[in-house]
Symmetry: C2
Subunit: 324 residues, 2 copies
Amino acid sequence: MRYVLGIDIGGTSFTIGSVAADGSRAAVLLNAPTLPGGGADDVVARIVALSREVMRRTAEVEPGATCLGVGIGAPGPLDTERGIVHLTPNLGWVNFPLRDRIEAGLGLPAALDNDANCAILGEWWMGAARGTRHALGITIGTGIGGGIILDGRLYHGASDCAGEIGHASIDSNGRRCKCGNDGCLEAYASGPAIARRAVEAIEAGAESSLPARAGGRLDEITAQTVYEAAHAGDELAREIVGDTARFLGSGLANLLNIFNPEVVVVCGGVTGAGDLLFHPLRREVARRAFKPAVAACRILPGELEAPGVHGAALAFLHARGADA
Amino acid sequence: MRYVLGIDIGGTSFTIGSVAADGSRAAVLLNAPTLPGGGADDVVARIVALSREVMRRTAEVEPGATCLGVGIGAPGPLDTERGIVHLTPNLGWVNFPLRDRIEAGLGLPAALDNDANCAILGEWWMGAARGTRHALGITIGTGIGGGIILDGRLYHGASDCAGEIGHASIDSNGRRCKCGNDGCLEAYASGPAIARRAVEAIEAGAESSLPARAGGRLDEITAQTVYEAAHAGDELAREIVGDTARFLGSGLANLLNIFNPEVVVVCGGVTGAGDLLFHPLRREVARRAFKPAVAACRILPGELEAPGVHGAALAFLHARGADA
C-alpha cells in the first residue's frame, strides 16, 4: 500500500491516520489530546511521536507499505503556500511554520491546509460528496467552519481565507459575534450557541428536562445534551433544534443561491440531531433558495469518522500535483 | 481587426458592440429599445438587424475587419451549454433557444451567458477588475445580479444558476423579496428598493426635496432622483444612500468572508451615487468582514460604459476555448 499520513489538529485533540493514496481506506487511525499547555514545541513533538506510531502500526497491518508524505489540517488563518499558521489562539501559535516543523520531525514532505477545508475535501474524496464537481462543507462544532470545492479542487481565495461560511451574517442587526460582525451564522448555530439558546429559554421560564440532564447546572448544558433531550421528546429541546435548522437553512439557502453546488455536507456534532435537524433544514432551504439551485443540491450529513484526516491526506496529494 | 460581436439584452433596451478579440477596444457600440411587445421573433429580428448594422459600421472604421462570432448576455435563468433562456418574464421568453436563433439569423457561431455574468467578465477583461484572478461583480439596477470569476473564468455552478448575490439574505426575518425569500439584498438595495425606502420615509413625514424633484409625484421618484438629491445636499436622500451603503456593506462583507476575492466591482446606476455610497460602503465592509479578507480586496465602481457587451464577447471566446 502507498499511503499518506493525514493529521487533523483540533483545539482539544488531534487525529492521525494512514490513508491509502487511492482513497480506498484508512489503515490506522489514532487520536491523542492536544495538551497545548506544553507549548508549540511540545505539541509538534507529540504529533511527530503519534505519526511514527501510526506508521509503525500501518507497517504491521500492511507489510511493505510506503508513506508518500504528510497532509496537515490545522485551525486558524494560515498560508498554505508557505505552510505557516498565522494565528491559533487555542494553541498559542503565532506565525508558526507548522509544515516545515513536521517535515523536519518526520523527514517526509508535508502540506498544510485549513481544518474545515480538509473536512469537506475528505467527504468529497471518500464520503458524502464523492462523485461531485462542486461541493460545500460546513463543519459545526465550537465554531462553524466552511470549505468550498469547485471543479474538484479546494477554493482558497486570494489570501487563503475563503470559506468562512460561519461568519456570513444571516441577520445584519442580529447577535454580536465574537468576530466583530453582527448576526453571523456561528452566533446562532455553533455548538455553544445552540446550548446558549437553550439556557436563555430556560432562564426565561421554559420547562424542560435539560436542567435535570445536566445535573441541575445550566452551564453544563451542551449542544449534545440538547440533541439527546430532543430525541427523547423534550419539547424545548426540539424547539431549539428546529430553530437551529431554520438558522442553518437561512445560511445554506444563501450559499445555494451563490454557489449552485451539487451537495452541501454538514459535518460535526450537530449531525447527532439527525432527522430532527435535517428535515426542517431541507424544508427551510427549499422555501428560501431558488428552485433550480434547490433541485441541483443534496444536503447531507457527513459520512466519515475522521473527514479531516482523509482530506488532509488528499490536500497533500493535490499540493504535490498528484491526482488521487 | 479580428473582433467578436457582444450583445447585451436588457428588459428595456439592448446594446451591441464590436469588441476587438485582443480586448483592446470596442470599435462600434449601438443601442436600441427592446420593445418586447412584438414577441420573441420580433426581438430576435431586431437584434439581428442591429448586429448587421454594427458589423457594417465596423467594416467602415476598420477596413478588412473579420467577425469571429457572437457573445450574447441575456437575463434570466438559462442553460449556457444548450444556449437556451429558460424564463425571462419581461421578454416573454420560455425555454427559448436564443443562441441558435441568433446563430441562424447571422450565420455566425454564438455563445450565451447570463447578463450579470457578462458584466463582471467585461470589467475583468477590460475594466476595473483587470489583472485579477478572483473577482466578484454585483450589478444593481431593477434587480441585483451577480457574477463570480474564479481563476480567471466565470463560475457557473452545477446548473448555471450560481452568482445570485442579490438573493442572498442579509436579514432572515427581513423584507419579503419577490423571489419568496426574506431579507434578500435586492429587497433593500436595488434601484426600486432605494426609491421605495425614500418614499416610505417621506410618507412617514420626513422633509426632503425629493417630492419637488419628482414633480410632486412620489411614484416618479427613482434611485437616480435620490442620488441627484444626495449630491445636492438633501438630508433624507443622503440618509437613504447611507443606508444603501450599509445594506450593501452587509452583503459584500459576507461575500468577502466566503470568497476572499481580490476585487468586487459594483456596476449599474448605483455608481452614480459616487463617494457618498462608496465611502460608507467600504467602511461597513471593513467593520464586518475578516481583516485578511478586507486587506486583500478592493471595492470599486465599474469602469466600462457597456461591460455586458465586452463580457459577452469574452464569454464567446471562452466558450470556444480561445483565450483572449
